[in-house]
């Protein structure tokens, strides 16, 4: 697995032959695997002998032993340069495995602990009248809150983002377009809590409206806009210029060309971008903490009064700090992850299904 692809082709031709005089001696292809097995055995022996209870320590010892042995053996047989190459290969593989570990652990923990209380009752009941220290209750009010807030945010951000992208691709030249491009990029990096503080100072402190789902969705819309602009822009750039020229040559006005030719060609990619943006803001908690305030009961009106939302619900149940509320937090986390993942998968499905045929 750590062999060079180039070497493999060379080796495949000449593997049965004895090494010719002009070729460097090479390790057989099974050598890394054999060393890996050896390292695991030795590490297990060391672990047992030293009485190390933690399997992570065994793994670390095995990893270090494997790299050291591979380097040593390769340096002896093939030379220092090849040894360095193999060391780099194992380090790069290690990096990738290192990144997969937290992902697997996180999903495993969430599914494992989340399924404990997740059932139909949990999905269809609110927390009204439920003591936080006791079992029971559910996420119904939070799901309603999330759907309404995210829906409103999308209704605000998607058209603005779409039109901005159209401006940048179809009309934009000069200083204004440059400024918009730059600030869209910068806006992607605005911390969600800052967007929340802005709506707080503008909507709640200055205009003196109360906490509401709508206040939260305005902050979410600010976070969503740059993502929509960026992805839509990429998609519009993929639309072949010949289509625009053909339409304009027929005397179709530019705005109809954009609406009837350019946007429909790119619609799959645009939908994907919007859905990925929705998935991103669905998990935002910080603006909700500042602007929506949280609630235990069902409130279907996003314009009046406090609401809850799935991420906020997780935060609240975590803060309650007892076994029953932890169970609810994990179950809600599972619901949220499932929601976000499904959005992601569907979005990518649409992207593949409706990819613009741009000739490459």
């Amino acid at each position: 697995m750590s062999d060079l692809t180039l070497d493999e082709t060379v080796l495949a031709d000449s593997a049965p032959l004895p090494p010719a005089g002009l070729r460097h001696p090479r390790l057989p292809r099974w050598a890394p695997a054999a060393l890996a097995v050896g390292a695991i055995v030795v590490a297990a022996a060391i672990g047992l002998a030293a009485g190390l209870g933690n399997k992570v320590q065994w793994g670390l010892i095995a990893g270090v032993l494997f790299m050291a042995a591979l380097y040593g053996v390769t340096a002896f047989v093939e030379g220092r340069r090849q040894a360095k190459d193999r060391l780099a290969t194992s380090l790069v593989w290690a990096c990738f495995l290192l990144a997969v570990v937290p992902l697997v652990s996180l999903i495993w923990e969430t599914v494992d602990r989340g399924t404990k209380v997740l059932d139909g009752r949990f999905l269809s009941h609110s927390m009204a009248g439920v003591l936080t220290i006791g079992p029971g209750g559910g996420v119904y009010h939070a799901i309603i809150g999330t759907l309404e807030q995210v829906g409103l945010a999308t209704a605000i951000a998607a058209p603005i983002g779409l039109l901005t992208a159209v401006y940048l691709v179809e009309y934009g030249r000069g200083r204004l377009a440059k400024a918009v491009t730059f600030f869209v990029d910068v806006m992607t990096g605005i911390p969600s809590i800052v967007a929340g503080l802005f709506i707080l100072s503008f909507w709640i402190i200055m205009l003196d409206f109360g906490y509401s789902g709508f206040a939260g969705s305005m902050a979410l819309a600010i976070l969503m806009m740059p993502v929509v602009v960026r992805s839509t822009e990429e998609m519009l750039k993929l639309v072949p210029n010949e289509l625009r020229e053909a339409s304009l040559a027929l005397g179709v006005p530019k705005w109809r060309t954009i609406l009837k030719v350019v946007l429909p060609t790119a619609i799959g990619g645009i939908a994907t971008g919007v859905m990925l943006a929705v998935a991103r803001i669905a998990g935002e908690t910080a603006p909700i903490v500042l602007l929506v305030f949280g609630s235990q009961v069902i409130n279907t009106d996003p314009f009046n009064g406090a609401q809850s939302s799935l991420p906020y619900y997780i935060y609240e149940q975590w803060a309650a700090g007892n076994a029953a509320s932890y169970d609810r937090a994990w179950a809600a986390a599972l619901v949220l992850i499932a929601f976000v993942m499904i959005l992601n998968l569907v979005a990518r499905g649409i992207a593949r299904w409706k990819a613009p045929k741009s000739g490459r």
């Binding site: 290969t89 990029d185 503080l197």
Partner: protein, 332 residues
């Protein structure tokens, strides 16, 4: 009119070059539909700029009114007591915690992310490269509050062993001393943030490594270089500026991360010498944790600290984007 502006210093842009006559205006017949549509789309762009400006203005106004009532020094006070009769608050501890935890995250995440990007572009079997990069992107799709929950209830209990070990060998440095208790410290935050910024650093670096001219790599291979030498001589030098900007984008994320920090850290308004002992705070965490107990001045004080965070992330992100933009011109 910006759309008509095809002058020597603004040559036709590389993409979607439309002849100017097609906007309709040049022919003398102004099409009402075109004007409305142009107005709408340009208006959206202007609105985006206006929102950015409004964020800066509103935060500054509230922050100024808070700072004028501060009885301590806003920059150097080690205290956050904005709701007292004699309000005293300062960002020293928050600035320290934010910068230190983000730097720890960078130190962990950047090398690993470079490794993963190299793995996906140069080492992984070609058929697996796309699904593997999707797996890394999934890390970015997990909401931050779920990271926080996982960090607080899974990661923290599993780190005490590591911290005890670090303490017994490196405790004499003071920086890595650990005195027991739940591992809800700045270092834990750093580890968690590292996991969270890994996908963005990886995906930007991956794109840069992909753009390395094939000729450079093949030339190196033809000279007999091993795969590692190809990477060291042609891929890494080519990708250096891209990796730097990727790291800065990651840094921007780490600086502003709120919920994961608010759930994991056990906050205190002290700067402790040890990174492993619980305590400290970050801008975003402090805003989320103390918001509900804040009165009017308290909220303004939090907005003031948010303004500092905003400026900080703006600088970091702006710098990263400038590097990327300059690189684009240079390679194009």
């Amino acid at each position: 009119m910006d759309d008509m502006d095809i002058s020597p210093e603004n040559p036709a842009p590389p993409l979607a070059p439309e002849p100017a006559e097609n906007t309709g205006n040049a022919k003398g017949t102004t099409r009402i539909g075109d004007r409305i549509f142009l107005g709408l789309s340009r208006g959206s762009g202007v609105l985006l700029l206006a929102i950015m400006a409004a964020i800066a203005v509103f935060l500054t106004v509230r922050a100024a009114s808070a700072i004028s009532k501060d009885h301590g020094n806003f920059l150097t006070t080690f205290e956050w007591n904005a709701n007292a009769d004699q309000p005293v608050f300062g960002i020293a501890v928050l600035a320290f915690g934010t910068v230190v935890s983000s730097l720890i995250a960078m130190l962990i995440a950047v090398p690993v992310a470079i490794g993963i990007a190299l793995f996906i572009t140069h080492y992984a079997p070609r058929r697996l490269a796309a699904p593997l990069s999707y797996v890394i992107d999934l890390l970015a799709a997990v909401p931050s509050i779920v990271y926080g929950l996982w960090g607080a209830l899974f990661l923290v209990p599993h780190l005490t062993g590591l911290y005890t070990w670090l303490d017994s060998y490196f405790g004499w440095t003071g920086v890595l001393a650990y005195h027991g208790g739940a591992a809800r410290s700045l270092f834990t935050i750093g580890i968690l943030l590292a996991i969270m910024i890994l996908p963005i650093v990886t995906s930007v670096s991956r794109e840069v490594f992909r753009q390395v001219p094939r000729m450079h790599e093949e030339a190196a291979l033809a000279l007999g270089a091993t795969r590692w030498e190809v990477i060291r001589m042609s891929v890494l030098p080519f990708g250096r500026s891209g990796v730097i900007s990727a790291s800065m984008l990651g840094l921007g994320r780490a600086l502003g991360e709120t919920m994961a920090v608010a759930t994991v850290l056990s906050p205190s308004f002290l700067i402790s010498r040890s990174l492993l002992d619980p305590g400290g705070g970050t801008f975003a965490q402090n805003i989320a944790s103390s918001f509900k107990e804040s009165g009017d001045l308290g909220k303004d004080a939090l907005i003031a600290s948010g303004l500092v965070l905003f400026v900080l992330t703006l600088l970091v992100n702006g710098a990263a984007r400038l590097i990327i933009a300059r690189r684009k011109e240079y390679t194009a």
